[in-house]
Amino acid sequence: MIKIGDISISPTKVICLGTNYLDHIEETGLEIPKEPLLFPKTLNCLITNNQPVIFPKYLNNNRKYNRVDYEVELAFIVKDKCKNVSSDDVYDHILGYTVFNDITARKMQTKDIISQKPWFRSKSFDTFGPIGPVIKTVNEIKDPHNLNIELKVNGKIKQASNTKHLLFKIPETFKYITQLFTMEPGDIIATGTPAGIGPVVPGDLIEATIEEIGTLTNKVILEGDEDNL
């Protein structure tokens, strides 16, 4: 169970979309997908507003892997158990929206992608999935596809876009996912990140903001420094 603002949810899975903004696809050099590109993050990565993102020593001490990136994303939370949802009914199965930061061990991910390995370890370190600060219900957000989305590191804007640039919109994404898998109440779907991804280092402060939802703030600390907060 995780409490996001006043709402507690018990997700069984976190599904993320890769390459869902054209400008981000250009910077990654990946293909434009014909259908939503999905990967999972495991529940051990979830933290909420104002909790630290822990930069693993394993990455920090290894020159091959010592880059960790932020990625701000609009996430939505599933309301009820569902499968094979049609695009028309999608919003009946969504509890609400929040901000998600898909923290990624970038060099490790790139190495795994090139060698055609799963995208797992680079995405699922503990604390690599900040979420919050609140869940805004479907009624509170008139159009989830017209929200400014931005991310600052130490006060400097790094990502700035609008959810209207999502390649696969929420109805299409949700229809596709529920064609494949049963979704459970509390499950989290992160809709992908816009351009501007880049590294963070211990000491950095990340502020991820989506219009009408709020700002998710997390400090980056080096593993082992948890007690010095």
């Binding site: 051990n44 990565c45 055609q116 797992f120 699922s124 898998f181």
Partner: protein, 223 residues
């Protein structure tokens, strides 16, 4: 969820790819120098003889109409842990079970060749089968010396021994827990030996591991 008479609450299922030499070769995959992990989500789990459902979205699509069996030894975590050393690995194991990592093979190869994540091909509902019970470590002297086999409609398709694993359990647990916190009830599937092959609606799969038992599951087409 209940496996035999034991209740567990997994938060994740982690699987090893390419952990038997012959299997890595049959999939034209390089032999790994460190364990290759991927995740299965909870929607995929079934137990206790429930049918494996062959999704229509695969069955009706020539590009994706191959679903494979993979039998594996799985172990279940007894407590929350992070950064454990291989010497202490067995202190964190609640027991062993049989696991079937059902895989939409053509979809997996399609995704792999495009450098995409291994996710959707592995996580259809009913694609993770576990059972028939959890056998505690004191009943299994050596988990790396167990015959493992899979029969399809009575015919042997996979037959090996867990002694052929490339990465042994202590090594994989040390490696994995170095990355992420494991929770009580999480389980790890240790990879499949060679002999993977397709299943069809109507098939009956029987998977056995010495000292653990046998699980039997029918494959049916999605309604």
């Amino acid at each position: 969820m209940k496996i035999g008479s034991t209740e567990i609450k997994p938060t994740k299922i982690v699987c090893l790819g390419r952990n038997y030499l012959k299997h890595a070769k049959e999939l034209d995959s390089p032999v790994p120098t460190e364990p290759v992990f991927f995740v299965k989500t909870k929607n995929s789990i079934i137990t206790d003889g429930k049918p494996i459902i062959y999704p229509r979205i695969l069955y009706e699509n020539e590009e994706f109409n191959r679903v494979d069996h993979e039998v594996e030894l799985a172990f279940i975590l007894s407590k929350r842990c992070k950064k454990i050393s291989s010497e202490n690995a067995f202190d964190y194991i609640q027991g062993y079970s049989i696991f079937l990592d059902i895989t939409a093979r053509k979809m997996q190869i399609f995704d792999r060749n495009k450098n995409l994540p291994w996710y959707r091909s592995k996580n259809f509902d009913t694609f993770s089968v576990i059972g028939p019970r959890i056998v505690p470590p004191n009943e299994i002297e050596d988990p790396h010396n167990l015959n493992i086999e899979l029969l399809l409609n009575g015919k042997i398709q996979q037959s090996s021994n867990t002694s052929y694993m490339i990465f042994k359990i202590p090594e994989m647990l040390e490696y994995l827990s170095n990355f992420l916190t494991l929770e009580k009830g999480d389980f790890v599937a240790t990879g499949t030996p060679s002999g993977v092959g397709p299943i069809q609606p109507g098939d009956v799969i029987k998977a056995s591991i010495e000292k653990i038992g046998t699980i039997t599951h029918e494959v049916i087409l999605e309604d």
